[in-house]
């Protein structure tokens, strides 16, 4: 590796390795307890997907340049230069990781391998080996932010079409998608697709919420790519809109990482306190149901229903009960997956992996535990509040011929609301 590039890489490591991360790489006892926690290692048996092995690559590079013994006697102290072989393995083990943090949950020292791999992503990006697709998706989102006027016409026309569908479901001619409404209490930061807006609009309108949407979506591929500056810029698009519109609360959609980004990371990236309350849409919906602002009927959903905790919302976001309470409010026929909540298996679709074709094989193999759980539940309907999880589980459903229906939670809610266009609504949002 050329001297200049090496200096860049060691500079990145120096900047990123804080005390906590150094402690993680020092204290790993190599007990390998984490191997049985990682769905990718369990599903593939491939050593490079063992959590401690992934972190080990960072430890080896760190030792080579920042540890006295490793600097002078690299072979003896397992210190390595980041040559092509090491970077190739680092790329695979890093971008394949779904960031589920199940390994951390089971590690006796709570070592956060996903956090260690954020250093790996920074190294890979500095070496010109960041994942191209994730980088492109991040850049496209930033471009949309910088050129919002260019897309306004098509987006407004899309929102008009969704408004019509909302009215067809609720039967109320006044109902619509509110766009850029100044003085709204709530900014709903949806995903780019209509499926994320339509059922939410039905629920907000029926609840009589003072809400609005803006031009920017919640998904953040800068976060998956591993570039915190890109991730900050993507989030800043809707934070700026929220400030301009004067809302009190930001509501994030059924998207695991979008919740974590808004609730936990943006403050650190932007170095400013989050000026709004951040709420997940299922917290709102749970509150609407419990307070009687919307009505749902049990019995409109057929079949046994189960629920998958997306890792970023559940284990890493602490939201376990509200989604379950919602599902239980729309059906008497609920069964949990085993294990569940903090111990829930990752479905294998997080971390942006569904967008990276090169990991398709490991992704599908790594869904083995989820398939086992789904089969054992005997459920015919799965409620799942994360886009990436749904994409993965839909593919597992097909490949393994599970014959299940995979639903957004808000779609289940809309289907259970006694509305004139309910049947139509349920079909439209499938």
């Amino acid at each position: 590796m050329e001297k200049v590039q090496l200096e860049t890489l060691t500079g990145v490591i120096d900047k990123k390795m804080n005390r906590q991360l150094k402690q993680y790489i020092d204290i790993c006892a190599r007990c390998a307890i984490c191997k049985d926690a990682c769905h990718q290692y369990v599903g593939t048996g491939d050593f490079k997907y063992l959590p401690a092995r992934r972190a080990e690559l960072i430890r080896q590079i760190y030792k080579r340049y920042f540890d006295k013994a490793g600097r002078f006697m690299p072979a003896l102290y397992e210190a390595r230069e980041p040559d092509d072989n090491l970077l190739d393995e680092l790329y695979d083990s890093t971008y394949a990781c779904t960031g589920c943090r199940r390994c951390m949950y089971y590690c006796p020292f709570s070592i956060d391998t996903a956090w260690i791999l954020s250093v790996a992503k920074a190294i890979l990006i500095a070496a010109g080996r960041g994942n191209e697709m994730l980088g492109q998706l991040a850049d496209a989102a930033i471009f949309k932010g910088d050129n919002a006027a260019m897309f306004e016409g098509v987006m407004l026309s899309g929102f008009d079409d969704i408004s019509e569908e909302v009215r067809a479901i609720t039967g109320d001619p006044e109902h619509r998608v509110h766009v850029n409404k100044e003085g709204a209490d709530v900014l709903y930061v949806a995903l780019a697709g209509a499926h994320s807006i339509r059922p939410a609009a039905v629920i907000f309108e029926e609840a009589g919420e003072n809400w609005t949407i803006s031009m920017f979506e919640a998904a953040n591929y800068g976060f998956f790519y591993g570039d915190t500056e890109k991730a900050r810029l993507i989030t800043k698009r809707y934070i700026d809109e929220a400030k301009r519109l004067g809302v009190k609360e930001i509501v994030v959609p059924e998207c695991g990482h979008a919740y974590r980004v808004a609730e936990f990371f943006y403050e650190a990236w932007s170095k400013e306190p989050m000026p709004f309350k951040v709420t997940h849409i299922l917290e709102k919906v749970d509150d609407y149901i419990k307070s009687g602002r919307i009505t749902v009927d049990k019995g409109l959903i057929e079949g046994k229903v189960t629920y998958h905790d997306p890792c970023q919302l559940g284990r890493n976001g602490g939201k376990f009960e509200q989604p379950r309470d919602i599902v239980k409010a729309v059906t008497d026929n609920f069964v949990d997956l085993t294990p569940n909540r903090a111990e829930q298996w990752c479905c294998g679709g997080g971390g942006g992996i569904v967008a990276m074709e090169e990991f398709k094989d490991v992704r599908l193999k790594s869904g083995a535990k989820k398939v086992e759980q789904l089969k054992a539940s005997g459920a015919s309907v799965l409620a799942c509040p994360c886009e990436n999880c749904r994409l993965q589980i839909e593919e597992l459903n097909e490949v393994h011929e599970l014959g299940m229906e995979i639903w957004q939670v808000i779609d289940l809610v809309v289907a259970a609301m006694p509305l004139p266009g309910n049947q139509k609504g349920a079909e439209a949002t499938e």
Binding site: M133, Q136, L137, D139, A140, A141, I142, F143, K144, N147, M150, F151, V154, M155, S157, G158, D161, I162, L191, A192, G193, A194, H195, E217, A219, Y221, A355, E357, E387, L391
Partner: protein
């Protein structure tokens, strides 16, 4: 859209939710030669912003983007 435009690759992206239509176009852009055209048909309205934004930020070109009923039809040219 011109009827004479030679299409090098057809992509059926109907039913895919955003950002997957953009992802699929990106994954396939190198499957056409430089100057070649992908014709992509999507149904998620979000693609109307996503695909042009992807093209602009990667230096490719959306030759046309038309709404035809409930479908969105794109002609995307590989520029480099």
């Amino acid at each position: 859209m011109s009827d004479e435009t030679k299409v090098d690759l057809e992509l059926d992206l109907k039913g895919l939710l955003c950002p997957l239509p953009m992802v699929k176009v990106s994954q396939n852009i190198n499957n056409v030669p430089v100057g070649g055209i992908i014709r992509a048909v999507a149904t998620d309205p979000g693609a109307m912003a996503d695909i042009p934004a992807w093209a602009q930020s990667t230096g490719n070109e959306v030759v046309s983007a038309d709404k035809q009923g409930s479908e969105f039809v794109f002609l995307v040219k590989r520029v480099k």
